[in-house]
Amino acid sequence: MTAHRITSVDSDDNRQGSADHIQYVTVVIGNQLFGLPISQVHDVFVPEKVTQVPLAPPEVAGVLNLRGRIVTAINMRRKLHLKPNDVDQGMMAVGIEYKGESYGLVIDAVGEVLNLPRKEMEANPSNLDFRWAEISGGVHRLEGQLMVVLDVDRLLSSLIEPKAA
């Protein structure tokens, strides 16, 4: 299983102004660029040997063993109501810790690390699909494309809480 510690990816130039800048790990899900705050990303890995969990919510792709920890893999395409991935296309996952448990967001590809000024983030456009708006913290206008900021807490709690009720 290949995995890189993201922390080592940091370049020194990006270390500066942490107060008004946020570092994002960019990922691609169905041709759309998303950004995850780097502080919340533990690692990036290729999901292998995913065990299906019957009766689980449809967004749950399954569970897998990542260095001795059991990680719940979440199919982001399904969560975002996008078409399923082509079979042969490579898959990546972003490892996240939430309330003491490990989750893996299954995405299409990992991009780069961006250091973006806080104040440049804009609120969700009002016509954004509500299923996206639910888990989006805002939008950054980058050159040539838009980047949606994924709100990890909202994303995971939206999956956990309805069941707890």
Binding site: K49, P54, L55, V63, T72, E101
Partner: protein, 914 residues
Amino acid sequence: MDDLLREFLTETNESLDVVDVELVKFEQEPNNATILNNIFRLVHTIKGTCGFLGLPRLEAIAHAAETLMGKFRDGVPVTHEAVTLVLASIDRIKDILADLEAANGTEPEGTDRDLIDELERLSISADNDDMSAEMATAMAEEKAAEEEVGTDIYQVLERPLRPGEVSLDDLERAFQEAEVEIELPAVEEETEEDSEAAGAAVAEAKASQKKVVRPMNPGSKGTAPSQGVSNQSIRVNVETLEHLMTMVSELVLTRNQLLEIVRRHEDSEFKVPLQRLSNVTGELQEGVMKTRMQPIGNAWQKLPRIVRDLSQELDKPIGLEMIGAETELDRQVLELIKDPLTHMIRNSADHGLEEPAERVAAGKPEKGNITLSAYHEGGHIIIEVKDDGRGLNLEKIKEKALKNGVATEAELEKMADQQIYKFIFAAGFSTATNVTSVSGRGVGMDVVRNNVELIGGSIDLRSTQGRGSSFIIKIPLTLAIVSTLIVEAGGNRYAIPQLSVVELVRVQSNSDHRIERLKDRPVLRLRSKLLPLVHMSELLGQTDEADLDEDNGFIVVMQVGSQSFGVVVDGVFHTEEIVVKPMSSMLRNINMFSGNTILGDGSVIMIIDPNGVASAMASYASGTLNDTVEDERDNEDTHVADADAPISLLLFRAGSEEPKAVPLSLVTRLEEFDVNKIERSNGRDLVQYRGSLMPLVYVNEGDHHKSEGTQPMLVFSDNGRSMGLVVDQIVDIVEDRMNIEVVSERQGVLGSAIIRERATEVIDLGYYLPLAYDDWFMRKEINATTKVRKLLFIDDSAFFRNMLTPVLKAAGYDVTVCSSAQSGYGLMEKGTEFSAIVTDIEMPEISGYEFCESLRRDTRFHHMPIIALSAVVTPASIEKGRQAGFDDYVAKFDRPGLLAALKDVLTNEFGVAA
């Protein structure tokens, strides 16, 4: 809190537990000096330490208690009063200690004057007794001396004294003369206090103590070993152990992975070292597991005291015997069974054991016995709580089961006694007639069962009327590691805990072991039983039943509680010890899985929860005829029998060719009698049935039974009375909706319905029952409801519920049925709207009157038409009904009256609304 104080708290709590046990023992053998000395020593230690740590309240109580016990040692007779008081003091000390811990080391405010005064009073009165009865004391002393000699001989005889050793006699004398207690070496501050008085004797006593204390131990039952061990043990924080355990679990998993890799490479140089690593890991795992093990006796420590208190409270002598206290089990498990055990002991003492007089009358000794035993059996621990009391009352349980609606009379008939006993594990099921302060509130055995099942255990019981009952709990040694069977279904692997697997059966289409189907539900003939089956994939919602491959696969026969069933899987691999890891919170709501784990090959596997499977099976079953116990509990609010749901109908022919039908749930049994057995008396046909005469009723007046051969009939029973409905032929049992399309004018027929695509007459049992017994309806209550509008119909009798629902449906009402006022109220609270309510009057818990009154107080239901149904109709009862707020009061047997009343109130209601 400083370390010293923490240490003190832990140690003192432990000592107090011992004192509790010892005191109870002492009360039974007041002349046993060893026990007394032991208690004395412990209390003294506590007193000393308290003084040292500056805890005046504790010190004062301990001192007063010690003084009183000192009198015992001087030969004052031991009374129950005194022991109770000392126990109360111990309790007080415990309370203060708890506060102390909570308040971080500060003694709570307050005074214990009451307790101390009482203790002192007893001490003084003991003194007085002493003085006035010097002679007696002298004699007592002599006696005590004799006794001591007696024990001494026993002890000394074990081996002769070696040179330099002191005899126990001498030692005892030295202690007495020195007026000094045997002290724990740890409590040094005391020595100062006593040193003046002690003088040289102390030195002597101590010197001799060192040598002799050990040989003395074998005689001093039980307490000694703990003393011996204490020097060689250290206290370790539980968290540290838990962490260690987790790490070892990880190690085991990694080891399994390595082994798996090496298995693939034939001659790897890693093989030998890995083998060693594997062995060491195994041993390490075992070792760490051991640190978590504790003797079950720890969970039992409080029981003697509880039994003693119960014995006094209930005023019956009770003995408690504990066998196998040294049996070890995981401390996590230990914690979880403490409460259930206590509860069961209370139950046995309160309900199990009879009153002394009753016991004597039954030829048993006055003193009741409760035996608690524990032993290992194949990876499990068996704990048995046994009493020699009256045993479970089968009739009462049956009665209660009927009343609670968890089973019908017909079902009860078929059940073995064992099965019926098990009803006591259902919620809200207490057969105790009196609610005592001890037990009988009906929250009990179900909680016990839940707690036991929660930790993967099972509970069973045996009972013999008049001889006693015993509860057997089987629990796994540990929760952390589970032995599982790895199976495959639908391309995925799952782990099933071995504990619930009874056997494996290979499916073969051409042998006995083939899957058969009953109404599409797979079953297996397994020896003498019919085993319900379910395919794993179906359970997990992955395939449709139709896709099942009937020729291949295995059936995992599982047992959960009293329920047996088979789970069909595609393949069975091997067994594996796995370390259970909790499910992610995102998946925790799936009750089919209890956890997951990483297998040797590194993949994650889901662990099947047998309880989840069992309840899934139960819900399948409830789709058919009768609710299971489990279901009854789950659906408390949906208690409502959906009148539109398909029900089982018995089709028969009688009198004419047209098929007739009656709801199967009403029929108690089908019988065939030899026509010779039919007798005629008082102008009607009767048969002798189960020791009494059963009247026979014909569908059409003037019909006759057959003249030869056997006569089939449907037997309807309620409350011990039976009626036989003579039929020509029993045709079939079908499941269908009973929509009565043409209402009948003819007596005895509710109307016609399409059943099995044929017009079928639905029999009105309500017409025939009074033909057998005029007063049938007087004995029980009927319910009814009417017209297109929604009716809520409440009756506690399942029999009448079943019978009247069709009657009301036939009258055109949409009927919702409840078995109690509570559940009816629950439905209304939830916003279900009804046009009218028809309720039985005589119901347990909440009567019809109370129900009506409470509804009238609620503004929402102020104008709701409510009709009372009762067997008793007197001017007084009608008046009472009116006062309660009923719109009408109808006799149960007066069905036309009921329908009329309904029509009446509903029209009125319309008037009001308009």
